[in-house]
Symmetry: C2
């Protein structure tokens, strides 16, 4: 069993705390350690450090070095740039394949909040068992708590479990982020789950699926594999990345293959998609505010304030987000926090480059 | 004729740009120079620099030195601390008295916006003429444009003008800041003027009025006068200031004396009482926003943003004020900008001392 922690991300959702070269997983949000470190600790309860890998974009190398804990340097995998999850997992699979062609890979995001750590471990181990038994692609589905329009959904087909005490299903279909009416219907039907972004499979199984459903990517990976350990490896990697399609494992493989299964997860999961979600998950004071760092609040309610330096003062406003870090300040309506990416787009102007 | 520019102020209204040791008059708001420098330039069209004085609190000395233009160092008058306008003008009067006991003093705030500079000069010179002719206390009253609740009002009695082409009146009464209904009544009646805070009088006349209406202050001033130029002057000044009452010239003298007159001023006057007023007087962009410094605005309307360093981004909010300077950030509803002083009060906590 090998864990591959994906640490990509463009650093837009949590701007100005997250930046191009320091995306969400490197932030300390709820715990004393970063989301990345929390994730690594969670998996270190399942596999030894030497069997853990982290895959990220080259430009995040500096941050990653600070947050890798005991993951060996040779297990840090750098993409020249981001091409979504399928190439990222593909590249990682090549590296695991070299050590253990029949190994099982657990591929996981690095920036989610998971509250019930023991239950999480049980779920992942059940997923590993299922991936081995079926020689198929396994995903972890989260029992939805509300009709969220921010997540992708997975509809299950038949109950094939339990596996080590965990509910398991075959899968009928993958659904993109729905509108509210559809999300409500999904919730009511009872057979839809949130797509957690965690995937489990044998390396050999995954590469077979790539060959079938993403032949261009497969050819690219073969090219990379041939040059591993050679002096021109970096150049080949760069070249192949420029040519391969940018596609997610969800759309590229999971939706298309029939060998796909779901283990039900129920471990207090949240993907922390915006400052608003961080607000909602945080402990509030008597005015419904969450204040991190030095701030003065006068007649403010239901707001989130994060300040890393100096002082922030808010007066007479409700339902706002104010975040000040690294010379940049965000002020926004809390219910529009997901649109922070629009700000980051506007920072493409040259004079703002250092705040991207 | 001598001009005494009052440069006190507690630096609360324009926090975080204004601070305890750098109050409003030292800020650059509309022009390329500070409000203080604008004020000095305005009066330098009427009197030579050697006849101009500036009176301020000791703790603003450092800022004042940067903004005094050609006012001679020996004409900078320092109060040990603020005791409102009557003591401040009293101390200045002693110093002018030494040079010219029959001189006429024009006492003026340093932090107001005045748009019609030529008309302003004509008005002041008419005031000087009236003060000499009547040997009385003259104030400049501003024809109100709207029922403001932020200013004191002066009700005129009889037309005694014109004086050098300017309307002049005797005064019936001074009124404190009214509520909106009263302000509307004042505006309708036509015989109420805004109190500009500019006063003109012979030094001898003023000191006589102090003796009559503020005998404690008069005694204190005599004590100070006796020690002028002596080694223990500073100690005496400090002692007297600790004992004299804190009172404005309006309440202490102007309201009480019968020798009081008004020259009508109509020169585009604004006391710049809050960020909201600065917003209202500034040129707006197509969204009704005023942006000074580096900022990114996404779906923001009718807002004021001032940023001296880094970048400020605002998203999805209307009618807000965001000001970032010197490590401090203000975020407030624009129509509550006058309450910024509540924030400054909260900064009395020790850890915030450097942001006061």
């Amino acid at each position: 069993m090998y864990c591959v922690i994906m640490a990509g991300g463009s650093g837009t959702r949590f701007w100005p705390r997250s930046r191009e070269e320091r995306s969400k997983q490197f932030l300390t949000i709820f715990e004393k350690v970063s989301l990345m470190e929390s994730t690594l600790k969670r998996y270190s309860a399942m596999v030894p450090w030497k069997d853990m890998y982290i895959v990220t974009k080259k430009n995040q190398k500096e941050e990653l070095e600070k947050h890798r804990l005991d993951v060996p340097t040779e297990n840090l995998i750098y993409e020249p740039f981001g091409k979504n999850t399928a190439p990222c997992i593909g590249l990682s699979a090549l590296i695991v394949q070299k050590r253990d062609p029949d190994g099982v890979m657990v591929v996981s995001p690095s920036d989610h909040l998971i509250q019930a750590k023991k239950h999480f471990k049980k779920t992942i181990l059940a997923g590993v068992r299922l991936a081995e038994e079926k020689d198929g692609m396994v995903t972890i589905g989260i029992k939805p708590e509300r009709p969220s329009t921010g997540y992708g959904y997975i509809q299950v087909h038949q109950d094939i479990g339990p596996v080590d005490g965990m509910k398991a299903f075959s899968i009928k279909t993958f659904a993109e982020k729905p509108n509210l009416a559809t999300a409500k219907r999904f919730l009511k039907s009872g057979d839809f789950y949130w797509n957690s972004g965690i995937f489990i499979f044998r390396v050999s199984c995954f590469l077979k699926e790539v060959k079938t459903h993403l032949p261009d990517l497969f050819d690219g990976l073969q090219e990379i594999r041939k040059h591993m350990g050679k002096p021109n490896y970096e150049d080949v990697l760069q070249n192949v990345y420029q040519q391969i399609p940018s596609i997610s494992i969800d759309y590229g493989i999971m939706e298309k293959t029939r060998h796909v299964y779901l283990i039900r997860g129920d471990f207090g999961w949240n993907d922390l998609g915006s400052w608003d979600q961080v607000y909602k998950l945080s402990q509030k004071d008597g005015d419904g505010n969450v204040v991190v760092g030095d701030a003065v609040m006068v007649d403010v309610k239901n707001s989130y304030v994060y300040n890393s330096k100096g002082v922030v003062a808010v007066l007479g406003l409700d339902d706002v987000v104010v975040v000040h870090e690294g010379g940049a300040t965000l002020v926004c309506r809390r219910d529009r926090a997901e649109e922070v990416k629009l700000i980051v787009e506007r920072l493409k102007r040259k004079k703002f480059a250092k705040y991207r």
